[in-house]
């Protein structure tokens, strides 16, 4: 009997198992998304990257996304190949945070939005010093304007002038040249007019092809565009790249402060500044990719001339409230700490 029962139970067990196997196989698909444990609040981070979700900026924020989870915030990353739309979505509240260039983040924080000011930070060491200072808790109050808080400052690369004629190696020789500028950058248009060049209205999608097909003589951009936009076409046969950083482009992460925990912004700034060197390394690789023969080296005197023209332009843009006076002062102090003998450090009209 015991044997029979055992046998019967065995058959029963086998039958149940056989009947259950298909159901067990289906189980994972029938279960609700058990993996999604909604403990941390979910926030949307809209990221501008010209290459969208496949681009290095977007990918870089995957590491940030995991870090943010440790601070108790689950971020959903959303790629944008149009910076204008990313900024609009952020303004409308469709995004709780956004990664934008300094140019477009200026509308959310005029203080950090002035970091991209022309000629304000002539090298990466000074840029790093500035970022490190601004990311410290002492500057936290300047990171906040209204409900918008700057939660990270990243280098975007120095912007250089790409010219179709390498004999252009002084500011005066830019006079009369057709110079592409973006609508979103009123500062550049004024600067172009100040040096006597002809501003040509353009967009980020067309300005480099305009240079390549000869519609403009000068464009402005980070070294990355040389490869990405095939500028060797526009630089051929006698063009060059002026080795003088006319601006430090930045990427800035701006958050809606009320949508995040109280200390999120400072934690984020601390984290982002730690990754400065890594970000800079990629930028310098782009600069090294430009053949040596294409670089136009400027003598010290010409660099000083460029510096003074850009300084005057900054002062003018400050007076028009395009640039923030306090940030210009911060960057002047950083410059003068590196080069105390510079003429601007004792000038009457110093920033």
């Amino acid at each position: 009997m015991a044997f029979c029962l055992k046998k019967k139970n065995g058959i029963l067990f086998s039958a149940i198992t056989i009947l259950l196997i298909p159901a067990l196989q289906l189980l994972p698909t029938l279960l609700p998304a058990a993996q999604v444990i909604a403990e941390s609040p979910s926030r949307t981070l809209c990221i501008y990257d010209p290459l969208g979700a496949s681009g290095p900026i977007f990918q870089n924020f995957k590491g940030y996304q995991a870090q943010a989870l440790q601070w108790g915030v689950r971020l959903d990353l959303k790629p944008y190949t149009s910076e204008r739309i990313a900024a609009e979505d952020f303004k409308s509240g469709a995004c709780h945070a956004a990664v934008l260039t300094g140019l477009l983040s200026r509308q959310f924080n005029s203080f950090t939005g002035t970091l991209d000011a022309y000629g304000a930070l002539p090298d990466y060491a000074q840029l790093k010093t500035t970022f490190a200072k601004l990311s410290a808790p002492t500057y936290a109050k300047y990171m906040l304007q209204g409900n918008y808080e700057v939660a990270g400052l990243m280098p975007g690369g120095a912007a250089f002038l790409f010219v179709d004629d390498r004999s252009i190696d002084t500011p005066q020789e830019l006079s009369g040249k057709r110079f592409a500028f973006l609508d979103s950058d009123p500062g550049l248009k004024q600067l172009v007019m100040k040096i006597g060049a002809s501003p040509v209205n353009s967009t980020i999608n067309t300005m480099y092809s305009q240079f390549n097909n000869g519609a403009v003589d000068v464009v402005f951009g980070p070294a990355m565009v040389y490869d990405a936009m095939e500028l060797h076409k526009g630089l051929s046969p006698k063009g060059g790249v002026v080795r003088y950083p006319t601006a430090q482009l930045t990427l800035q992460m701006v958050i809606l402060q009320s949508a995040f925990p109280q200390s999120f912004g400072q934690k984020s700034r601390d984290y982002v500044i730690q990754n400065f060197d890594q970000a800079l390394q990629s930028i310098q690789q782009y600069e090294q990719a430009i053949p040596n023969a294409l670089w136009i080296e400027l003598p010290q005197k010409v660099q000083a001339d460029f510096g003074e023209i850009l300084r005057q332009a900054r002062i003018s843009l400050r007076d028009q409230s395009i640039y923030d006076a306090k940030m210009l002062k911060v960057m002047r102090i950083v410059r003068c700490s590196a080069n105390p003998d510079s003429a601007e450090c004792s000038a009457a009209d110093k920033e």
């Binding site: 698909t29 999604v36 403990e39 979700a53 590491g63 870090q67 980020i204 060797h232 690789q285 990719a289």
Partner: protein, 370 residues
């Protein structure tokens, strides 16, 4: 022996020894080179066609990964294997891509489960694999450049000094003469296949490096060259890739891909009809880049096809279609993992968790009976 002193004997023995060594070295070099040349011929005439017609991508990529050091060691003795390297690099790169996809899924899964340390770790694994993939694919693209420079001086002219040669000027001159100088002079279908695979190697190298935050430092300028290389191929012969590659590059450069989507979709259709769906991967990738999930789902559905227009693989190039399928499956797996916490269920590629299901009999109206 008494006529020879010890010194003479020692000299003779040394001379004999050196001669033997020299003979051995020369003979071995000859043997190695002969073997290398044999392998080169075997690789070109047997391995490449055999592997191309298989469907087991994992097996092919593991074979390529394992064989690469052995095969290409023959380059040290003077055997040129660039033509084999074009395909082998694509295959070994695919193995690294598989690792990256798995790590990417582990990242998404860890994020879903709110495990930040595990997510960080998975991202590191993913980046490492992407760097390896980018370097392997890039080696394939460089092999393509070298091989075509060897066999066709016309294409090498463009590559010798890319920084200073203006392709537009060269192309304008060539158009005037009725030839495209970028394209090799000797360009039979076997050469065209290598050209195409080399192009795809280059494209995958740039894309993998971009996903690795440019850690492998692959020159971005390559994508412009690759788009121009596509001019040498015909859509109706090479699965829509002649249109798809430049359209994808233009879409990436333009920021807004909308103007190029009809062309990409048409190219995907050509690939579908011809039995190799590589163009569809490029189209789907644009939707990934845009973060456009509905369009990506639709592209995956079209990739799989339907009963009315069933897909029929081109048996000669089945491997490329199988690799394309793995790329699309990786995209589908990501969608599933994000939404449901697991990969695409077996046999359900082209279907999604939120698809409306129709029950049997839904289309039969029996209300008048009730």
């Amino acid at each position: 022996m008494k006529y020879f002193g010890d010194a003479t004997l020692r000299m003779a023995s040394k001379f004999f020894g050196v001669t033997v060594v020299l003979l051995c070295v020369t003979a071995c070099q000859g043997i190695y080179k002969g073997t290398g040349n044999g392998i080169q011929r075997y690789s070109a005439t047997q391995i490449v066609p055999f592997v191309s017609s298989g469907t087991d991508v994992s097996q092919a990529c593991q074979m390529a990964t394992a064989m690469t050091p052995v095969l290409f060691s023959f380059e040290r003795v003077g055997t040129q294997l660039n033509d084999s390297r074009i395909l082998m690099s694509m295959l070994s790169g695919h193995c690294a891509s598989q690792q990256a996809w798995n790590a990417q899924l582990a990242y998404t899964s860890a994020m879903n489960q709110q495990q930040p340390a595990a997510a960080q770790d998975a991202r590191i694994v993913e980046k490492r694999a992407l760097i390896v993939a980018a370097q392997r694919y890039w080696s394939g693209y460089q092999a393509k450049r070298s091989w075509f420079s060897q066999i066709s001086p016309s294409s090498s002219a463009v590559y010798k000094n890319p920084g200073y040669k203006n392709p537009e000027v060269i192309n304008a001159r060539a158009a005037h003469q009725g030839i495209n100088p970028r394209c090799p002079k000797r360009f039979d279908s076997s050469a065209q296949m290598r050209w195409l695979v080399g192009m795809v190697d280059g494209l995958l190298a740039v894309m993998s490096d971009s996903l690795a935050e440019r850690s492998a430092n692959i020159p971005l300028s390559a994508i412009g060259e690759i788009a121009e290389d596509a001019q040498c191929l015909r859509d109706d012969q090479w699965w829509g890739m002649a249109s798809a590659v430049p359209a994808m590059v233009a879409a990436l450069k333009n920021g807004d891909p909308t103007p190029y989507l009809p062309l990409l979709r048409k190219a995907s259709g050509i690939g579908y009809v011809q039995g190799v769906r590589l163009a569809a991967v490029l189209e789907a990738n644009i939707y990934v880049t845009q973060g456009n999930e509905p369009a990506l789902k639709e592209a995956i559905r079209r990739f799989v096809g339907n009963a009315e227009h069933p897909f029929k693989v081109n048996a000669e190039f089945a491997l490329f279609d199988a690799a394309a399928t793995e790329h699309v499956q990786a995209m589908s797996d990501q969608l599933w993992m994000r939404a449901k916490g697991h990969r695409t269920p077996v046999g359900q590629l082209g279907r999604f968790w939120d698809d409306k299901t129709t029950s049997v009999g839904d289309d039969v109206d029996l209300s008048e009976v009730l």
